[in-house]
Structures are given as structure tokens and as C-alpha cells.
């Protein structure tokens, strides 16, 4: 049986590391791939896990630690060197652009390196896209909450139905040419001032 391939993934973002792991697993060639995910890099991982390749998120400050091993290799049993196969500059550049870098042990199959790095880059790019969508969804949710609360204020203070409260908000937004969320935020700000018991 062929020796297993050990891939260590260092990423402070565990969900993203999971995505990369899944991708690398699916990309499995005829060799069994064993994957370990960690948020931080520690020197002992090299002894304990003996990785053939390390994938690290560029946003991890630990990248410089890993980088130094090619110099101070007395602390590690095996040299880990940066993936600098210039014949496949493209894979390295794309990975870097997506926010991930790879380190390998000397003699590791170059085809497999490029393939793993490409998969990691794709997963990073997808996660980046999802993060943007999530940020937008969060912003949308926050806006809806503000509008709902403003509606509540209007319903209570002017005795309006929910529907009428929303129409009033929308009309004011259109009249003043401002986003409905901004109008809602203004109403909340003013209503705080008008709270009973706060007047002097």
C-alpha cells in the first residue's frame, strides 16, 4: 500500500479550514490523504503529525514561523520548504490572491502540490464570496430590525396599524429622498428622547 499523504491545514477560520479539508479529500488521488486542521501552528505538529504539505491562511501571523523552518531546520526532523516551483507560478499566484500559501517537504509529488494548492485556493475564494454574502445578509437583517422597531413606535404613539405604520415610513422616505432604514433610525433616535419619565 502506498504511504499516506499528510496535509496540515492552518487557518484561524475553522469553517473555511473544513471547506479546504473537504476539497483536498475529494481531490484524493490513489494515495490516502490524512488531514489535520489547526487554528495555530506549533512546532510540535511537525513531529507529531509529520506533514508532507502545510496549507496556511495568509491571514495567519503564524506564516512567518513556518517560513523560518527552512532556515532553522535543527528544530524539526524534516525540512519544510516553500512551494516555489516556478513552472507552476500560476497556482502559487492564484493561491496567494485567494489568501492561502503552501509549504511542502522536499520530494513531494509536484503534481499533487499544484492540485492541492489549486483546490485550497478555490475553496478560499468561495468562502470569501460567502463571507461577503453573509455580511450583506447581516446588514439586511439589521435594517429590517430597525424598520420593525420604528414601525412599533409609530403604531404605539400614533395608534396606527402595522400596515399603515409601514406606509407612513415609506411615504416619508420617498418625500425626503432617503432610504427607509435611515428614516426608521431617525424615528428611533427621537423616540428615545420622548420616553416617558425622562422629561424634566
Amino acid at each position: 500500500m502506498a504511504k499516506t499523504v499528510n496535509v496540515l491545514i492552518i487557518d484561524p477560520d475553522e469553517a473555511r479550514a473544513e471547506q479546504v479539508a473537504e476539497g483536498v479529500r475529494a481531490d484524493n488521488g490513489d494515495q490516502e490523504t490524512v488531514i489535520r486542521q489547526e487554528r495555530h501552528f506549533e512546532l510540535r505538529m511537525l513531529r507529531d503529525f509529520d506533514p508532507d504539505m502545510v496549507i496556511i491562511a495568509c491571514e495567519s501571523p503564524d506564516r512567518d514561523m513556518l517560513e523560518a523552518l527552512q532556515v532553522a531546520n535543527e528544530q524539526v526532523p524534516r525540512p519544510v520548504v516553500m512551494f516555489v516551483d516556478r513552472s507552476d507560478d500560476n497556482a502559487t499566484a492564484k493561491a496567494l490572491e485567494a489568501g492561502v500559501a503552501g509549504y511542502i517537504v522536499d520530494g513531494f509529488n509536484p503534481k499533487r502540490i499544484s492540485s492541492i494548492l489549486t483546490v485550497a485556493a478555490q475553496r478560499f475564494a468561495v468562502t470569501q464570496g460567502l463571507r461577503k454574502d453573509l455580511d450583506k445578509a447581516k446588514a439586511d437583517l439589521a435594517a429590517r430590525k430597525t424598520i420593525d422597531r420604528a414601525k412599533g413606535v409609530l403604531m404605539a404613539s400614533r395608534n396606527l396599524s402595522e400596515d399603515d405604520a409601514y406606509k407612513a415610513l415609506r411615504k416619508h422616505a420617498m418625500d425626503t429622498g432617503r432610504p427607509i432604514q435611515a428614516v426608521a433610525a431617525d424615528i428611533l433616535a427621537v423616540s428615545d428622547l420622548l420616553k416617558p419619565g425622562d422629561s424634566q
Binding site: P61, E67, Q75, V84, L96
Partner: protein, 379 residues
């Protein structure tokens, strides 16, 4: 407007790059700058190599190490200016600090503390304890050279008698707390933040080692600079103007505010303040930003001294390819700064203020003195 991307590491000595943005100096020099915060030096090196960024806040030895084949390529880099001087501190664990005290008193001179360090190394050897472990943020860094020099000044062999490890500054304090490392050298405000949290004590700072120690430079992709010669001068000028602003005492609070913003160094106000006071960090464009060829050669000399490099290289030629005092003069003269006549000077041996020939007026330089009285001559 010329578009460009500049990367920096979250440290106090990225100040000029951040100040130029906050005060609109890039804009007024006709530059449309996108700032990118990077979590490690390796990213910055690679992004320069692949042309993903055009300029960056870099450790001064980085372009020389890369050009001399130490580590991966960085592409051709030029440095039209330094980004200030000093700013690093050495912190040791409370345990090690106690060992560096003689009769309850800490010897604050570097020669004194190194002598006590040698005593401690000898004690550990006799008792069969492991080597002391010191951390630096990058192999090709002034931090590494400073610590090695200090260790060696007491006759220790830094290579054999100390264990070195590269650790990101953000993790150094925890490692001191956990006893993984015995001390570290890092840019501010990390050592100050660690000390405030009770994780060790600062033993010395850059000016104790060398009164005006070179540290970070502006690294620009040579290909970008060649395609954008005017923008290169404009960029240098924007940063020199940032230096004029940042070295004005009245702007201190605003400077701390800029550094404390999340987008900048994201550290507690108190740590930044302590660092500005204690680490000797200076941004004076007149005395701390000229890219001295003698600094470049000193860094390469350190690589040779510590066995990282053979001495068979044309260091003068490489120094002049990377460091570009000609560009500094072109950018600085219209700002009313005085331009040194020479490209190199003798480093060390100036215990008090001294004058160097410059035009239109000579420059009064602060002391230029190394802790061991060493003098580095280029000739």
C-alpha cells in the same frame, strides 16, 4: 491620479504610511493609494514578488536577504527612504529577569546584562537545563541581529548556546507567560502591551543598543518605480511630509489616535503611548529617513557575521541597487530638508550630537553610538 497598493504590518513604525493616508498626503501628491494590512512578512514579500502590491513597509534586511538567495524571491526592490529609526524592545520573562539581577539590582547596561546572561547560561549548562529560548519575528530582521550581538558581547556563541525561534509578535507575550520562550525582541507596541499585562519586563530598547538604529524602509517594486518615476518621488514625498507631521510634538495625541484605530495597529492606547516614549522610535525626516548605504552594508555585514551568508558578494553594488539616496534627495529638497552630500557615513563612535555636510545647510545629527563602542566603517 496614479493608483497604487501599499501593504504594512500592524506596528507603530508603520506610522508614516498610515499618517499619509489619514492626513491626505497621498491625495495631494496625486496618488490614489489602497492600504493593505498584512498579518506576516512572508505575505508582503510574496505579494511584492508577484506584483500584487506596489510598495510596502518592510524590514530593512529583507530585500538584501532575498537578493542574496536567502529564502524565496522578493523580485527587484528599491528603497527610496527609511520609515524612521528605533522602535524595538527586548522583553524577558520575570524568571529570567530575576537571574539578570546582581545583588537585587538589574544591570541596565547591555554589556552588564549580557555578562549576567552568560552567567545564567553557564548555570543552566551545569544543572543540565535546556538552552534559553529567544524569539524574533523574522529570520532576516534587525531584531535577530540585535539580540545576537547583545548575546555575543559577553562571549557567548549565539548559534550554539541560545535557541532561536521565529514567532509572530502577537503570540510572543503568551509564549513568555507559558514558559515556552524566555524572551523576545519585537517592534512596538507589542513588548509594552506584554509588560502592561504582567508578562515579563522590558530589558532594553533599540536606543540602548544603538542610539539611532535603522529598522524599517519603504520597499518599492523596482518595475513599478521604473514605470512610474514621478509617482515614486511623489510617494516618497508624501511619506516625508508624514514624517514632518508625526515628529511634531504637538501632534502626539493625534498620532496615537491614528495608530490605535482598529485598521492600524489595534493596540491599547497606553501601550502605544509607552512605546512612543520608551522605544526611541523617531520619525524625524531629516535625521531618521535617509537611506544610508552604510546601513545597507551594516545589515549585510550582520548576515555574514552570524553565518547566514558568505562574504563573497559585491555588497557595495547590491546596497546601491536597493537603497536609493538619489530618490530621497529629489523628494526631500522641495520640502526644505537638507540633503546629505555623501551616501554613506561611519556608523557608531558619535556619543554626542554631530554635524554632517549637507546642502543647503549642514545637518545636526543626534548621537550615533553602539552599546559596545563598536564603529562600522564602509571604506
Amino acid at each position: 491620479m496614479t493608483e497604487l497598493k501599499i501593504a504594512y504590518s500592524p506596528l507603530n513604525d508603520a506610522a508614516l504610511i498610515l499618517v499619509a493616508e489619514a492626513l491626505g498626503f497621498y491625495d495631494s501628491e496625486g496618488l490614489n493609494v489602497t492600504l493593505i494590512r498584512e498579518a506576516n512578512w512572508s505575505n508582503i514579500r510574496d505579494k511584492l514578488a508577484y506584483g500584487m502590491i506596489d510598495a510596502a513597509h518592510i524590514l530593512a534586511p529583507m530585500p538584501f536577504a532575498a537578493a542574496l538567495g536567502l529564502g524565496p524571491s522578493m523580485g527587484r526592490i528599491i528603497a527610496p527612504m527609511a520609515l524612521g529609526a528605533n522602535g524595538n524592545s527586548v522583553l524577558v520573562s520575570a524568571k529570567l529577569k530575576a537571574r539578570l539581577e546582581d545583588g537585587g539590582k538589574l544591570d541596565t547596561s547591555l554589556l552588564g546584562s549580557a555578562r549576567l546572561l552568560a552567567r545564567e547560561v553557564e548555570r543552566r549548562r551545569k544543572e543540565g537545563l535546556g538552552r534559553l529560548v529567544f524569539a524574533v519575528p523574522f529570520t532576516w530582521s534587525p531584531h535577530h541581529f540585535v539580540l545576537r550581538h547583545w548575546v555575543a558581547s559577553a562571549g557567548l556563541d549565539p548559534e550554539r548556546q541560545i535557541q532561536w525561534i521565529v514567532v509572530p509578535p502577537s503570540r510572543m507575550a503568551d509564549m513568555v507567560k507559558d514558559g515556552v520562550i524566555d524572551g523576545f525582541c519585537s517592534g512596538s507596541p507589542w513588548p509594552q502591551a506584554a509588560q502592561l499585562n504582567g508578562h515579563g519586563e522590558i530589558l532594553f530598547s533599540d536606543p540602548d543598543y544603538w542610539t539611532l538604529k535603522p529598522e524599517k524602509v519603504l520597499g518599492v517594486r523596482a518595475a513599478w518605480a521604473e514605470a512610474n518615476p514621478e509617482a515614486t518621488i511623489a510617494l516618497t514625498r508624501a511619506l516625508l511630509r508624514a514624517g514632518q507631521w508625526a515628529s511634531t510634538p504637538a501632534h502626539r495625541e493625534d498620532l496615537i489616535r491614528i495608530l490605535a484605530r482598529t485598521a492600524s495597529v489595534n493596540a491599547p492606547w497606553k501601550a502605544i503611548e509607552l512605546a512612543l516614549d520608551g522605544s526611541g522610535l523617531t520619525f524625524d525626516p531629516q535625521t531618521a529617513t535617509f537611506p544610508w548605504i552604510s546601513h545597507a552594508k551594516w545589515f549585510m555585514g550582520q548576515m555574514v557575521r552570524w553565518g547566514m551568508l558568505s562574504p563573497d558578494h559585491d555588497f557595495d553594488q547590491l546596497a546601491r541597487h536597493v537603497y536609493r539616496p538619489d530618490l530621497w534627495r529629489e523628494a526631500a529638497a522641495p520640502l526644505g530638508l537638507d540633503c546629505p552630500l555623501a551616501d554613506e557615513k561611519t556608523e557608531g563612535g558619535q556619543p554626542a550630537g554631530w554635524e554632517i555636510p549637507a546642502k543647503p545647510h549642514n545637518i545636526l545629527m543626534p548621537a550615533n553610538q553602539l552599546f559596545d563602542g563598536g564603529v562600522f566603517r564602509c571604506a
